[in-house]
């Protein structure tokens, strides 16, 4: 019965849109129209959860940005969904002054401070509209749910809390404090929305530890405050019978940099890497041949939404790319058979429609008609989704072929698994056809991090080769420094157990008649191996003792005394875990965790792992951050 974080967030949003009255399920309720005003944080939160159509169905006639020119619309209630920053509050005061709307429902994404509340109050008094402010709410929704088991903290404002911001050389203490506070506030909102108090584990000596301490303190304060605690048993809905508390694992990005730069092979991760999947939306440039007299190829930009209600996407987002191609083919075939049935029915209907006498026949036909008519929109929707995925997959395939991403993937997997390389690294770097310069730098960094240890002379050699291939090597200097700093002698052991089997299966694919011409793209079978993050989570959940994990700190906000000694008191394995990565995360880690959870959960004990990160960084973006870090000194 436990609904996911995402569903809870949607519920909270819907309740907010219903004027903070819990929504009842009536078949046709009276429409109550309203205007929604949001800032960019609100926009990031709402856009992956509710489509414009759903907003319309809930009665939202207009949705406007807070800092835009807005005209007065009399006699309409307005719902504000904003962060309680000074700018926003000033703008709200202005709105009061200009009497834009009839009633105001103010919903703040995170808790508003006393001082700012006074500012709003004085603005309201000043403009004589105190009676118009109907409700003021703290929504505690300061996070973005992308999937049922994945959330991030920031999208539009990600630079403020990125890996670069945390690790740059000239970072000030105040900045770090600010970042920590943001992260803690969001994590707090996550747990308020869930209604549970987790047990916190974190490694020592980095940003994650700071976050853990602050979060523990905040949770503790809130629980002690008996009057306004969020975690009393009344708040937990009846459906939640999980007697076990979840585990919150806070990890720092420095644990594992290689995963951020890894070339990937699963559908969702590929779309993120190649097409920059943002907030479940993908922009693809398609070349459409135009029939104008000028001729030539026109590049059109198309946007696709990849939403959780798309069943094909849900099933395939974690599968390796060739499986996706096959699945699209299968879907297309099944769609065609269904379409054929409908057409047959139509033909049969056409002939028999001439008869008018027997009424019984008519009722049979009307029944068939209604069923066809109702299934038609479903079919059309299916067709649209199939087209969408076909386009995305074709575009992906083109990119893969152009940049030889499959070769990169294979090589990196081998490096991470310590097997022998087919092609030496130098060859790959000097190969002009293979990939963009960034791909090469990524490959080399992974080799540096996980491959066999290289002497300085060798590294310099590679550097020369890389600069020859037009790559920006500033990131490398940072990595070398970082490696020395963290003394990653333990790193090689973390990736062991991996490896891929290359099965040259393109002949088989050709025979299957797949419409995607897969010659030259090897069908890589990914052997399941665990990334460092997954390994850590596994050890913590099962109470195993791993060398790195033993050193982790333990926080339990529910304990009366803050136990700084950090001895784990809980002896039973955890069934639910929330993994949070400070400093950026990506879909590869997410996918790995999902696979791990699936493997580990048997019928009686479903294991749930939810992945969160401060922001979703694609490899290119992360590489840029590393370059900035490297070129600083």
């Amino acid at each position: 019965m436990a609904s996911s974080l995402r569903e809870k967030q949607i519920l909270a949003l819907k309740r907010m849109l219903n004027f903070n009255v819990p929504a009842t399920k009536a078949t046709t309720t009276e429409p109550q129209w309203k205007v929604l005003v949001y800032d960019r944080f609100g926009q990031d939160i709402i856009s992956p959860l509710l489509t414009v159509k759903e907003l319309r169905d809930m009665g939202v006639t207009l949705h406007l940005k807070l800092h835009s020119e807005r005209d007065p619309i009399p006699d309409v209630p307005a719902i504000y969904f904003v962060m309680p920053t000074d700018d926003n509050i000033r703008r709200i005061g202005q709105d009061f002054q200009s009497q834009l709307y009839e009633t105001y429902y103010l919903n703040f994404i995170s808790a508003i401070s006393r001082q700012r509340l006074e500012e709003i109050a004085s603005a309201a008094i000043h403009s004589n509209c105190v009676s118009q402010v109907s409700k003021v709410f703290d929504q505690y929704l300061n996070f973005i749910s992308l999937e049922d088991d994945m959330f991030t903290l920031r999208h539009q404002d990600r630079d403020s809390i990125s890996y670069y911001a945390l690790n740059k050389g000239d970072v000030k203490d105040t900045e770090i404090e600010h970042i920590m506070d943001t992260v803690v506030d969001s994590l707090f909102s996550v747990f308020v929305t869930l209604g549970t108090v987790p047990i916190i584990r974190c490694p020592r000596g980095n940003a994650a530890e700071m976050v853990a301490e602050k979060l523990d303190k905040k949770l503790r304060e809130n629980i002690r405050d008996a009057r306004s605690s969020f975690f009393t048993s009344d708040n937990i809905q009846a459906g939640q019978f999980s007697f076990q508390r979840p585990l919150l694992v806070l990890l720092d990005r420095n644990l594992d940099l290689a995963t951020m730069l890894h070339h990937t092979w699963t559908y969702q991760a590929l779309s993120h890497d190649v097409f920059d999947l943002q907030l479940n939306r993908v922009d693809i440039e398609e070349s459409v041949e135009s029939r104008t007299p000028a001729g030539g190829v026109v590049k059109k930009k198309k946007t696709y939404d990849l939403q959780p209600f798309d069943k094909f996407w849900q099933a395939q987002k974690g599968s390796p790319f060739p499986a996706v191609a096959e699945a699209v083919q299968v879907e297309l075939d099944s769609y065609r058979t269904q379409e054929g049935e409908v057409k047959k029915l139509k033909a049969a209907m056409g002939i028999e429609g001439e008869d008018e006498s027997a009424i019984s026949m008519l009722s049979d036909h009307t029944a068939k008609l209604t069923s066809t008519v109702s299934s038609l929109p479903e079919l059309l929707e299916r067709k649209r989704l199939i087209d969408q995925h076909t386009n995305i997959a074709t575009a992906l395939l083109e990119q893969i072929k152009a940049r030889k991403l499959d070769v990169y993937f294979e090589t990196e997997e081998k490096l991470m698994g310590k097997s022998v390389l087919d092609q030496s690294l130098m060859d790959m770097i000097n190969d002009h056809e293979c990939g963009t310069p960034q791909d090469k730098v990524r490959l080399f960094i992974i080799a540096l991090l996980c491959g066999p240890p290289m002497s300085d002379a060798e590294i310099d050699q590679y550097l020369i080769a890389l600069t020859g291939a037009n790559c920006d090597t500033s990131a490398l200097s940072y990595i070398r420094k970082w490696k020395a700093y963290t003394k990653m002698t333990a790193a090689p052991s973390q990736y062991a157990g991996g490896g891929t089997k290359t099965v040259g299966m393109f002949s088989k694919l050709m025979n299957q008649g797949s419409q995607f011409l897969m010659e030259g793209v090897k069908n890589l079978v990914i052997k399941k191996h665990n990334l460092p993050a997954t390994r850590v989570v596994d050890a913590l959940m099962d109470m195993k003792s791993l060398q790195d994990v033993d050193d982790f700190r333990y926080f339990d906000p529910k304990l009366l005394r803050s136990d700084s000694s950090g001895i784990p008191r809980n002896k039973s394995p955890f069934q639910e875990a929330y993994v949070f990565m400070v400093g950026g995360g990506n879909y590869i880690e997410y996918q790995n965790l999902v696979d791990y959870a699936k493997n580990k959960s048997n019928a009686g004990a479903p294991r749930k792992v939810v992945y969160g990160c401060s922001d979703l960084t694609s490899a290119t973006q992360f590489l840029k951050q590393l370059e900035r870090l490297g070129s600083e000194n």
Binding site: E30, I73, A124, A358
Partner: protein
């Protein structure tokens, strides 16, 4: 999740008392006039749209209230009488349609009101109109579903009632089905489906058929005429078909006779050939004998 409205209101009060304490006497009159919620003159649009929504809600409540009685599916056998006569149902239908019509005109009126306004206001009003229309559509759907159920039941009853006297005739026709091999597609399918269609309702409503006999009078004259015409057309077709059958029988017999004749003829010819072959043999033998006897006589004589 956290309702801080009370905190807000408390803050407002605190601020106000603070202001009063610092002697803001000049603003007193203003605050007095604005303590009571100002009854703003609601614009035409707002008033009308709220009216329409209220009307539609009233209609919905009205329909829901009487829904159970309207759709009463009281079983035919039991003694439960439907609590609504048909005239009452018609009345409900009429009134519902009137209200729907009225709402539609009001919506059109509101659309006209939405003339030249600022873009945001216009957008808002268009969306409001759409919401009202959707709501109206939803309520209309409820109404039409109800009505569809009622019409269907009436139609079923009628079909069943005309089933009884013709039951035997149709079954006889159904038996003749397999022998016709040259029917046009239309007529055969028609027959099959009518017979099929009749068989199933008969199965399901056999128990109720006795009761339905009483409702024969309900067949309107129009429908009776239509059925008569159909019957006549069907009967003509049947007769033409039976004539063709007779022809076919005759031809078949003739053909059979001729084949037999031919067979006999063959036999006789064979016989004749055999006879002629035997006759020849005798003649030859006789001639040979004569020749031999001549030679013998010639030798004997000299």
């Amino acid at each position: 999740m956290a309702d801080v409205t009370n905190v807000f209101k408390a803050t407002v009060k605190a601020l106000r008392t603070r202001k009063k304490a610092t002697g803001d006497v000049t603003k007193n009159s203003q605050t007095f006039t604005t303590i009571l919620p100002s009854s703003k003159l609601k614009g035409d649009f707002e008033k009308k749209s709220k009216e329409v929504v209220q009307n539609i809600s009233k209609l919905k409540d009205f329909l829901m209230e009487h829904r159970k009685a309207y759709v009463s599916t009281g079983s035919h056998l039991s003694a439960e009488t439907s609590t609504m006569t048909d005239s009452e149902r018609d009345q409900i239908d009429e009134e519902a349609e009137k209200v729907i019509h009225m709402c539609q005109t009001s919506v059109a009126l509101i659309k006209n009101l939405n003339g030249s306004q600022h873009s945001q206001v216009k957008e808002h009003r268009t969306a409001v109109i759409r919401l009202i229309e959707d709501y109206l559509k939803g309520v209309c759907k409820v109404y039409s579903e109800q009505r569809a159920v009622r019409v269907k039941r009436v139609v079923d009853r009628k079909r069943l009632s005309k089933l009884e006297p013709d039951k035997l005739f149709k079954q006889r026709r159904a038996n003749k089905q397999p022998t016709f091999s040259e029917n046009t597609n239309q007529s055969s399918r028609q027959d099959q489906s009518t017979s099929e269609g009749d068989r199933s309702p008969t199965k399901s409503k056999k128990a109720t058929s006795e009761e339905k006999m009483e409702e024969e009078e309900e067949i309107s004259t129009e429908e009776a005429q239509m059925f008569e015409r159909e019957n006549a057309a069907l009967f003509e077709e049947m007769s033409s078909v039976s004539e063709e059958e007779k022809d076919i029988d005759r031809i078949e017999q003739v053909v059979v006779g001729s084949t037999e004749n031919i067979k006999e003829g063959n036999e006789e010819i064979r016989q004749a050939m055999k006879n002629s072959a035997g006759f020849r043999v005798y003649i030859l033998f006789f001639l040979l004998l004569l020749t031999l006897s001549l030679l013998f006589l010639d030798w004997y004589n000299g």
